[in-house]
C-alpha cells in the first residue's frame, strides 16, 4: 500500500493542480470534458490510505495538517464516487454550452474545497477549504444566469458567509484555548473544560447549522438546488452539504455528555425533519422536492448527532458518517435521475424503477442499504419519545419519496430518449448507491448482516414504511387542498425586510449629506478634538 501521505497529497493536488492549470485558456476550453478525472486520487485515498497518518506542511507558527479518520474516509469515498459520476454527467450535458469554462473552474474549486474539508485536521485549512467550497458552489448555482439563479446564488453565498463569520470567532477561541497548535483534535480535547464552552459551542452549532440547513435558516437550500444545473445540484446536495455534517462531528466534543446541548440539537433536527416533509409535499418541481427532502434528512442527521452529544457517545460519529454517506449516494442518484428523465423519458420505467428502489431506501426499505443506515442510527435514539419521532420521520421520508416519484414521472419528456452519455452516469450511480453501503457496512463495526435481516429488524423498518404508504394514499386523494408554498418558503418573507434595510440605507445617505456641509465638517473637527481631550483628561 502506498504511503498515506502520498495519497493525501495526491487527493488534494490533482484538483488543485487542474484549477491552476485553468489559468491557461487552452486548458480552460477543454476542462469541462475532463471533470470526471479529478476525484480519482481522492477515491484511492479514501480506500487505501492508512487512517491517522498526517500530512502536514508549514512552519512552527502555522502548520496545515491533513489527515484521514474513519468518518472522513467514509464520506470522502462516497463523495468521490459521486463527484466522478456527476463529473461525467456534467461533461456530457455541458457540451456546446456557452458558460462551460466558468462551470469547470467553479466545479474544480468546489471539488478541491470538498476534498479539503473532508481531510482537514487543523482549523485554518478547514476554514480555507470551506471558503473555497462556498465560492465554488456559488459559482455553480449561478450557472444559468437567470434572475432566479442569481437570487439563489446571492442567498446561498450570503448565508454561507454569515455562517463562516460565526465560525471564525469560534475557531479563534478554540485556537486560543488550545494554546498549542491549530489541530482540531487538540482544541476539542480541552473544549469541555474551557470557560467559554457554551459560547463556542453556540457559535459552532449556529455556523454549521446554517450550512446544514437547520430550520429556520434552511431556505437557501431549496433555492440553490432548484436553480443549479443537474450535476451541480447532485454534488451540492450530495457531497457539499456533508461538509457541515463532518464539521459537526469533528468540532463537537462527542466524548463528553452535554444533555442540554444534545436535547436542543435533537429538537432542532427533528423539527427540520418534519418541516422538510411538510413543505416538500406542496412543491411541484421534482428538484425542489428533493431539496426539501435534503432539508429533512439533514435535520435527521443533526438529531442523531444530538443524541451523541447528550449521551457523550462518540461511536455516534461512525453511525452518522454511514448514514450521511448513504444519503450522499442516494441524493446524487436521484438528482441525476431527474436530469435523465427531463432530458428524455421515452421509457420512463427504466429510470423510475431504480429511482424507486434508491429513493425508498432512504425511508428504510428492507433488504436495501437504507435499511442498514436506519438500523445504524436507530440505536442512539433509544425507545422513548425521541425514538418514536425518529421512526415517524422515516414515515415522512417514505411519503416524500413516493410523492417525488410521482412528480418525476409527470415531468418526463415522453417523446425522446435521453442520450446514453447521460444515462450511463445515472445508472452507475444508482448501482453504486445500492451496492456500496453493503460493502462499507461489512468493513465497519456497526452491525452484521444477520442483524439486518432478523425479523425484529425487518418489523422495525417496515412499520414506518407502511405508515408512509398510508399517508401517501391520503396525499393522492387530497393533494389539491394543499397550499401553494413558494420555493424557499421563508425567503419570500425576507423580501419585506429588504425594504426596511433599503430605507435605512437611504437614511444613512441623508445623514452623510448633512455631514458634508462645511460648517458641520468644521464643527466635527472641533468636536473630535474636544472629545479626545476630555477622554484623555478623564482617564489620567
Amino acid at each position: 500500500m502506498m504511503d498515506a501521505r502520498i495519497l493525501l497529497g495526491a487527493a488534494l493536488a490533482l484538483p488543485l493542480g487542474l484549477l491552476f492549470a485553468c489559468l491557461s485558456s487552452w486548458v480552460r476550453k477543454r476542462m469541462s470534458s475532463w471533470l470526471a478525472i479529478a476525484p480519482f486520487p481522492a477515491f484511492a485515498c479514501a480506500l487505501f490510505a492508512v487512517h491517522d497518518v498526517p500530512l502536514s506542511f508549514g512552519t512552527r507558527q502555522l502548520r496545515l495538517t491533513f489527515v484521514q479518520d474513519t468518518p472522513g474516509a467514509i464520506l470522502l469515498g462516497v463523495a468521490a464516487l459521486l463527484w466522478i459520476t456527476s463529473g461525467s454527467y456534467a461533461s456530457a450535458c455541458l457540451r456546446g454550452q456557452p458558460n462551460r469554462r466558468r462551470f469547470a473552474v467553479c466545479w474544480l474549486m468546489a471539488l478541491t474545497g470538498c476534498i479539503g474539508v473532508f481531510l482537514a485536521a487543523d482549523m485554518v485549512s478547514f476554514y480555507f477549504m470551506l471558503a473555497l467550497l462556498t465560492l465554488g458552489a456559488g459559482g455553480l448555482i449561478i450557472h444559468d444566469d437567470t434572475p432566479e439563479a442569481w437570487r439563489a446564488g446571492a442567498v446561498y453565498v450570503g448565508l454561507a458567509l454569515l455562517a463562516e463569520s460565526l465560525l471564525l470567532p469560534a475557531f479563534i477561541m478554540l485556537a486560543m484555548n488550545a494554546s498549542d497548535g491549530l489541530l482540531i483534535r487538540d482544541a476539542i480535547a480541552v473544549l469541555p473544560t474551557s470557560p467559554q464552552r457554551d459560547l463556542i459551542i453556540a457559535l459552532l452549532v449556529a455556523g454549521f447549522g446554517i450550512k446544514a440547513a437547520l430550520v429556520p435558516l434552511h431556505f437557501w437550500m431549496p433555492l440553490a438546488y432548484t436553480a443549479a444545473p443537474i450535476p451541480a445540484a447532485a454534488v451540492l446536495s450530495g457531497a457539499v452539504v456533508k461538509a457541515s455534517v463532518l464539521g459537526l462531528i469533528r468540532f463537537l466534543p462527542l466524548g463528553t455528555a452535554m444533555p442540554d446541548w444534545g436535547t436542543a440539537l435533537v429538537a432542532a433536527g427533528l423539527l427540520g425533519a418534519f418541516y422538510g416533509v411538510a413543505i416538500g409535499i406542496t412543491q411541484k418541481n421534482p428538484k425542489t422536492v428533493l431539496a426539501y427532502s435534503s432539508v429533512s434528512q439533514m435535520g435527521f442527521i443533526v438529531a442523531v448527532i444530538g443524541t451523541g452529544v447528550s449521551a457523550g457517545d462518540d461511536g455516534v460519529a461512525l453511525a452518522v458518517a454511514f448514514y450521511a454517506g448513504h444519503h450522499v449516494m442516494v441524493k446524487g442518484a436521484l438528482f441525476l435521475a431527474v436530469g435523465v428523465i427531463t432530458a428524455g423519458g421515452a421509457r420512463p420505467m427504466w429510470v423510475l424503477l431504480p429511482a424507486a428502489i434508491v429513493g425508498l431506501g432512504l425511508g428504510g426499505l428492507p433488504l436495501t442499504r437504507g435499511a442498514l443506515a436506519k438500523l445504524a442510527v436507530k440505536g442512539p435514539f433509544g425507545d422513548g419519545f425521541a425514538g418514536t419521532l425518529a421512526m415517524l420521520s422515516a414515515a415522512g421520508t417514505t411519503l416524500l419519496m413516493l410523492y417525488f416519484l410521482r412528480r418525476l414521472a409527470e415531468s418526463a419528456k415522453r417523446d425522446e430518449s435521453a442520450p446514453a452519455a447521460l444515462v450511463r452516469p445515472w445508472l452507475l450511480m444508482a448501482l453504486l448507491s445500492m451496492a456500496v453501503p453493503w460493502m462499507v457496512y461489512e468493513a465497519l463495526p456497526i452491525g452484521t448482516w444477520q442483524d439486518a435481516l432478523s425479523p425484529y429488524a425487518l418489523w422495525e423498518l417496515s412499520w414506518p414504511m407502511l405508515l408512509g404508504g398510508v399517508f401517501t394514499l391520503a396525499l393522492w386523494r387530497w393533494h389539491d387542498r394543499l397550499p401553494r408554498v413558494p420555493v424557499g418558503d421563508i425567503a419570500a418573507g425576507i423580501s419585506s425586510t429588504t425594504r426596511v434595510t433599503v430605507a435605512c440605507g437611504r437614511m444613512l445617505e441623508q445623514a452623510d449629506r448633512v455631514l458634508r456641509l462645511w460648517p458641520v465638517a468644521g464643527a466635527s473637527l472641533l468636536i473630535v478634538t474636544i472629545l479626545l481631550g476630555l477622554a484623555m483628561l478623564a482617564g489620567r
Binding site: Q61, R102, G158, S165, P169, A175, L525, T529, L532
Partner: protein, 509 residues
C-alpha cells in the same frame, strides 16, 4: 531607539534610508532638467531601483532583527535629525514600493509621452508626482522626529493634490481644492500640537520624547489636536467627506496611489504618535472613541458603497470603510492592566490590514479604471458583459475584494484573525462583531458588482479603447500580492515587532 538604554535590539547605521528618500528626488530634478520623453524613462528606471532599496531595508530589518538608523549630517538628536526604520517602517516601505511599481507599469499606457518627444502636461505631471509621493511616503516611514514628519506629511499632500486634478476638468479641480484646503487645515492642527509638545518637553525627537512624556494637560491638548488634524488627513468618519470625490475623480493610476498609499501616510503618523511617543496618555476612553469612529466609518462607508451607482465611487466609499478597520486597532492594542498601548498582535494585525488594503485597493482601482476606459463609463448597471470582455481585470477586482472581505489565504484574513484574536482575548466582543458585520457588508457590494459584470450583455459591447494586456497583468499582479499576503505567516517573520520592547512572532497563535 538606539539611544534608549535597556532595549534588547540595537540599531545599526545604514545609508539606505537616505537613498530611499533621495533617489526619487534626484529623479524629479533630472526630469525637470531633461523634460520630454525622459520623464517617463527616468521614472521607469527608478522603479526597480527603489524596489531594490526597499527590499534591502526590509531584509535587513526582518532577518537581521535590528532596526536601522541614520543620523543626518552626523549631528545627533535632539539638535540633529535621525532617520529610523523599524519593523512597521520596513513593511510599509516594501508595500509602498510594490504598489508604486505596479502603478508605474500600469500608467505607461495612460501617461505615455508622445512619439515625437513633446511632453503633455498630464504625463509630465504624473511621473514627477508619482516620484514625489514615493519620496514623501519613505520619509514618513523613516522620519524619527515630529517636525520632519510634518514636513513629510505636507510634501505628501502637495504631491497628492495635483494627482486628483490631472485631467483638468472643473469637477476634479474642485475636488482637489477641497482636499487641499481640508488637508492643510489638518496639517496646521498637527503643527499646533507639535509646538505645544516642544514647549513642554524641549525636543521633538520621538525616542527622547517617549522617555520624557507625562500625561499632563499640555500633552493631552497637544495629543488631541494632533490626532484631530491627522484624522482629517486620513479621512476617518466624520471627516471623510473630501475623499470620495477626490479618489473617484482622479485617473485610475492616481486613484490607486491615493487610496492605497497616501491615506496610509497620515495613519502611520498616528501609529507613531500613539504607540511610540505617548502610549500611556491615550487612556481607555480615548481608544474607545477612536474605535467608535472607526466602527462608524465601517458602517457608513459600507452602506454608502452599496448605494453608489458608479463603480469608482463605490471603491472610494469602500476605502472610507476600510480606513475604519485600521482604527479598530487602537482599542484592541490597549492593555487595561498597564493602561498603555501595547505593541502586540493587534498592532501586527493593523499594519497587515494597512498593507493588504493597500495592495487590494490598488488592484481594485486599477481594474475599475480599465473597465472605465474599455466601456467609456463606469455605471454599475451598465457593466454587463465586461466579464467576457476583460476576464483578467474582473478576476483582479474579485481577488482584491476577497482580500477586503477577509477570506483565506489573503492578507485581509490574516489581519482579521489577529485583530479578532486580540478582541476576544481582551474581552471586547463588540469590536469583533463590528469587524464581522463589516466583512458581510463588503461581500454585499462585491456581489453586486460581480453579478453585473458576469451577466452576459444584452447587445454586444463595443470596446471604446483597447486595453493592453500588461495593464491587466499589473492589476492582477497587485491583486495576487494581496491574496498571497496571508502566506507570509508561513515564514518565520516578526513583522511588526522589530525593535519593540516586547517581541512576539506573527503567526496564528
Amino acid at each position: 531607539m538606539s539611544n534608549v538604554a535597556g532595549l534588547p535590539h540595537a540599531a545599526t547605521a545604514s545609508a539606505t534610508l537616505v537613498l530611499a528618500i533621495i533617489f526619487p528626488v534626484v529623479g524629479i530634478l533630472l526630469s525637470f532638467v531633461l523634460g520630454g520623453r525622459f520623464v517617463e524613462r527616468i521614472a521607469l528606471i527608478l522603479l526597480p531601483i527603489g524596489l531594490a532599496i526597499a527590499s534591502t531595508i526590509f531584509v535587513q530589518v526582518n532577518f537581521g532583527y535590528h532596526s536601522l538608523e541614520y543620523i543626518v549630517g552626523g549631528w545627533t538628536p535632539p539638535l540633529g535629525i535621525a532617520l529610523r526604520a523599524d519593523g512597521p517602517s520596513a513593511a510599509m516601505m516594501m508595500a509602498a514600493a510594490i504598489v508604486i511599481c505596479a502603478v508605474g507599469i500600469f500608467a505607461r499606457a495612460d501617461f505615455r509621452t508622445a512619439a515625437d518627444g513633446s511632453e503633455t502636461r498630464a504625463s509630465f505631471a504624473f511621473w514627477i508626482l508619482l516620484l514625489a509621493v514615493w519620496s514623501a511616503m519613505n520619509l514618513i516611514f523613516v522620519g524619527a522626529d515630529l517636525f520632519t514628519l510634518y514636513v513629510a506629511l505636507e510634501l505628501l499632500t502637495f504631491a497628492a493634490v495635483p494627482l486628483v486634478s490631472l485631467d483638468g476638468r472643473a469637477e476634479t479641480l474642485q475636488a482637489a481644492l477641497r482636499y487641499l484646503i481640508f488637508a492643510v487645515l489638518g496639517a496646521v492642527f498637527y503643527l499646533v500640537g507639535a509646538a505645544l509638545l516642544y514647549g513642554a518637553y524641549g525636543t521633538l525627537d520621538i525616542a527622547i520624547l517617549s522617555e520624557r512624556v507625562r500625561a499632563d494637560p499640555t500633552t493631552i491638548v497637544a495629543g488631541a489636536v494632533m490626532t484631530a488634524g491627522l484624522l482629517a488627513k486620513t479621512a476617518l468618519f466624520p471627516l471623510h467627506l473630501w475623499l470620495p470625490p477626490a479618489h473617484a475623480g482622479a485617473p485610475a493610476a492616481a486613484s490607486a496611489v491615493l487610496s492605497a498609499l497616501v491615506v496610509k501616510g497620515s495613519f502611520f503618523l498616528l501609529v507613531r504618535l500613539w504607540f511610540d511617543v505617548m502610549p500611556g496618555v491615550l487612556g481607555m476612553a480615548g481608544t474607545q472613541i477612536l474605535g467608535i469612529l472607526g466602527a462608524a466609518a465601517i458602517l457608513f462607508g459600507n452602506v454608502l458603497a452599496l448605494r453608489q451607482p458608479r463603480l469608482k465611487l463605490l471603491v472610494a466609499y469602500s476605502t472610507v470603510a476600510q480606513i475604519g478597520y485600521l482604527f479598530l486597532m487602537f482599542p484592541l492594542a490597549f492593555s487595561a492592566t498597564s493602561s498603555t498601548l501595547q505593541s502586540n498582535s493587534a498592532l501586527t494585525g493593523g499594519i497587515l490590514q494597512a498593507i493588504s488594503h493597500a495592495t487590494a485597493k490598488g488592484a481594485m482601482f486599477l481594474s475599475a479604471g480599465l473597465m472605465y476606459s474599455a466601456l467609456g463609463h463606469d455605471r454599475i448597471s451598465g457593466l454587463s458583459g465586461v466579464g467576457r470582455l476583460l476576464p483578467m481585470t474582473v478576476v483582479a477586482f474579485t481577488l482584491g475584494g476577497v482580500s477586503l472581505i477577509g477570506l483565506p489565504p489573503s492578507g485581509g484574513f490574516l489581519a482579521k484573525w489577529l485583530l479578532l484574536g486580540a478582541a476576544i482575548a481582551s474581552g471586547q466582543w463588540w469590536w469583533a462583531a463590528t469587524m464581522l458585520a463589516g466583512g458581510l457588508l463588503t461581500s454585499g457590494y462585491m456581489f453586486i458588482v460581480l453579478s453585473r459584470a458576469m451577466t452576459p450583455a444584452h447587445k454586444p459591447l463595443s470596446l471604446q479603447a483597447t486595453v493592453p494586456r500588461y495593464q491587466q497583468a499589473a492589476a492582477l499582479a497587485l491583486a495576487l500580492c494581496s491574496l498571497m499576503l496571508g502566506l507570509v505567516a508561513f515564514g518565520s517573520f516578526d513583522v511588526a515587532q522589530i525593535s519593540r520592547p516586547t517581541t512576539a512572532s506573527i503567526g496564528l497563535q
